[in-house]
């Protein structure tokens, strides 16, 4: 029977309504490209953005988007993928790093992938633990830690979290460069985390 418009529209809605994980499963099962195409195009901006970050060249990144599609097409059938987006990010990053370092052999890609996959899983856990601990930490500890930060970090952290200013506003009000503001906040936050962890350990001891 010839599919009517109604059928096709319903089918389209149907494909687009799947979650990433459902599309992965459907693609693995049926190997139908429209599932993969929908899935990949849904996250193409991520691939392009990450490629740009690592390759720093728009033409190379455009090529990467097309080539990573081929990688995904194959690898998705080979590996069990639980979280497509995280996995795609790793695939993209590894592809870019490889391309940069001219590590082109399949074996190296494989080992890099596996290493990274483990590291990723571990770091996920670590972050969750830390955050869980942090949530239970007394605010007084936090206050002390903030006081212990370097002035610039403290100033930026306060503006960012307390006053809810964006990077650009902070740069304007403090006179620091935008990139500096970003790094003060990143480093400040990391220092706070470390400080709180130390306090936490001390309390446990």
């Amino acid at each position: 029977m010839c599919h009517s418009r109604q059928w096709i529209l319903a089918r389209l809605k149907h494909i687009a309504s799947h979650t990433d994980e459902e599309l992965v499963a459907l693609y693995r099962k049926s190997k139908k490209m429209d599932y993969l195409g929908t899935l990949y195009n849904r996250h193409m901006t991520l691939v392009m953005g990450v490629s740009m970050k690592y390759l720093k060249d728009e033409h190379d990144s455009s090529d990467a988007v097309m080539e990573i599609f081929e990688v995904v097409k194959e690898d998705l059938l080979k590996y069990e993928v639980s979280y497509f987006k995280s996995w795609l990010y790793m695939v993209t990053r590894n592809y870019c790093l490889m391309r940069k370092n001219k590590l082109r052999t399949q074996q190296k890609r494989q080992s890099l992938y596996e290493q990274d996959h483990r590291a990723f899983m571990e770091s996920e856990n670590a972050i969750h633990l830390t955050e869980k601990d942090a949530k239970e930490t007394q605010l007084t500890d936090l206050e002390q830690c903030i006081e212990g930060l370097r002035d610039q970090q403290k100033q930026c952290i306060e503006l960012f979290y307390l006053k809810e200013k964006c990077y650009r506003e902070i740069a304007e009000s403090t006179g620091y460069a935008l990139s500096k503001v970003k790094s003060y906040i990143q480093n400040g936050k990391r220092n706070l985390k470390l400080c709180l962890e130390r306090k936490n350990e001390r309390q446990l001891a």
Partner: protein
């Protein structure tokens, strides 16, 4: 201590991708920026993406178009591979959904929209009954879905076609349609048609779209060949209209396809190829569902189909409420009511299917040509077609494709008997000539042919290009360029340039591209784009 300190180690709520892109495009308020930045501090994945996109935006301010082009290239890959399988082609619109999610929103959304959204939401909800399609998890469920939808074809009262009147178009409204109280999943669905509109990869240049122009898109499934056809009608203000049509995907997906339909299918593929190279234009009223390959190139002016913010002033601001005028239903059709202008007469599809089925049956009854004669043609395309025809005729008798749907189809056929005659007269002639006659023509011309036709050369060239046999592509393109028939010359030049680039012979490709980029042909846009890569 201030409550805000709690937020330091709390995961910010994940912004939507749309929100992230708006961050990149600098379309957020300082408060919104802060929220996104807090989230990005905790999410390496999205932070990398945003950082990369910011860099991309610096390097290439027109980056949404680059992304749109990439989406279409991916789409092309999928279409090509699907053509191999010849099973499913929904790609075009599925891609448009993704295109929309990826980039469309940020490009067109405007926070200053003054629409009364809740009210519209109500209207939309009332107008449209959202159907819950069961989740598909296996082939057998796929079949169940088919069955269900076949039933719906009889009883469905939801909308099936849209027309957008661009004289009332308001770009701030472009993608807000489904935000009106619908879930995000439905949202994607709701706007898919518009995404095709707003993100057609601008093959047509930069000029403003004149008021009075209209856009239509359609899924055309007449004749067992499924094709997605889009048409844009542009008015140049002097009373002349130009319609731009393209087919973005096509497939022979059942056992009823005959030679003529396969020929159309292959032609559709060619349209797909030419989509990447530009657009085919024809003056006059668009004919929904028809796919014309030999359209004349446009006159000097090209139009940008994307209603970007710069077009704000182009459209009357008085009527911001562009509620989709999609009230025609199957039931209305079946009860013999006239379909409003701009809607597709699905009855003609069904009528055509009936004719096609009959003709197929007649065709099957006629003894086929002797096998030696077929083989004597020594043409791999013919052999492939034959194998395919066998495959599909087997498919036709396979219970899985017919048993489930036959009863439902019979019911549909009964109901449309009253409209059959009219539809035959109206739409069949231009869309697809009688398959039986065309089949005869195809046979006589192909068998008698001695010299290669430009069309065949082009088909072969594009096929080889897909297989990345660039050296052979060059031979075919050269052969095309030697043809007296100039209709494929520009396409051949572009393809040649692409293949030369693939072979790293950029110096040879450059003059070809420069020539094309100075021309006014449909290949201009892509040639200019490729030239930037030098």
């Amino acid at each position: 201590m201030n409550d805000n300190w709690h937020k330091i180690f709390h995961d910010g709520e994940r912004p939507s991708e749309e929100q992230l892109l708006r961050y990149v495009n600098d379309e957020l308020s300082p408060e919104e920026r802060n929220a996104v930045e807090r989230y990005l501090l905790d999410c390496d994945v999205d932070a990398d993406m945003v950082e990369g996109l910011e860099l991309l935006k610096q390097r290439d301010p027109g980056y949404p178009q680059r992304l749109a082009l990439l989406q279409h290239q991916i789409e092309g890959k999928v279409t090509a591979e699907n053509s191999g399988n010849r099973k499913w082609i929904y790609w075009s619109a599925a891609a448009s959904v993704a295109v929309l999610i990826g980039i469309g929103l940020t490009w067109f959304l405007n926070p200053t929209n003054t629409l009364d959204r809740p009210q519209l939401a109500q209207k939309q909800v009332e107008q449209k009954e959202q159907k819950v399609v069961p989740k598909e998890t296996s082939e057998s469920e796929d079949l169940a879905l088919k069955k269900e939808i076949a039933k719906e074809e009889v009883s469905d009262s939801s909308n099936y076609g849209y027309r957008y009147d661009l004289s009332n178009w308001d770009d701030t409204d472009t993608n807000t349609v489904a935000l009106r109280g619908l879930s995000s999943k439905q949202y994607r669905v709701e706007v898919e048609d518009k995404a095709l509109f707003s993100l057609a990869p601008s093959p047509i240049g930069d000029a403003n779209l004149p008021a009075g122009s209209s856009y239509q898109n359609d899924f055309d499934s007449d004749s067992n060949v499924t094709a997605f056809t889009d048409a844009i009608t542009l008015s140049d203000g002097s009373g002349t209209e130009y319609s731009y049509q393209w087919s973005t995907a096509s497939s022979i997906d059942n056992g009823l396809a005959n030679e003529e339909q396969k020929r159309l299918y292959n032609d559709n593929n060619q349209v797909i190829d030419s989509l990447n190279e530009g657009a085919d234009w024809v003056a006059g009223t668009p004919q929904e569902g028809s796919i014309s390959l030999d359209q004349k190139p446009p006159p000097a002016t090209y139009y940008n189909v994307m209603p970007n913010p710069a077009l704000n002033g182009t459209y009357p601001a008085s009527d911001k409420d562009i509620v989709l005028d999609s009230t025609a239903t199957y039931q209305q059709l079946f009860s013999g009511q006239e379909v409003p202008s701009g809607f597709y007469d699905s009855a003609s599809d069904l009528a055509y299917n009936e004719v096609a089925t009959k003709e197929k049956q007649e065709e099957l009854a006629v003894p086929s040509a002797p096998e030696e004669e077929e083989m004597a043609r020594d043409d791999e395309v013919v052999i492939a077609e034959k194998a395919e025809a066998e495959r599909y005729s087997i498919g036709e008798t396979t219970p899985t494709t017919t048993v489930a749907e036959a009863p439902a189809k019979a019911e549909v056929a009964d109901e449309v008997t009253t409209t059959t005659t009219r539809s035959n007269e109206n739409s069949l002639d231009f869309a697809y000539p009688s398959p039986a006659i065309a089949l005869e023509e195809t046979k006589s011309t192909t068998i008698g042919a001695t010299a290669p036709q430009p069309k065949q050369l082009w088909k072969k060239a594009t096929q080889l290009a897909k297989e990345k046999q660039h050296q052979s592509v060059l031979d075919y393109c050269d052969a095309l360029l030697k043809q007296p028939d100039a209709s494929y010359h520009d396409r051949a030049k572009l393809q040649k340039a692409k293949s030369l680039m693939a072979l790293d012979r950029k110096a040879e490709a450059k003059p070809l591209l420069e020539e094309l980029s100075k021309s006014n042909g449909p290949q201009k846009q892509e040639a200019q784009y490729l030239l930037k890569q030098f």
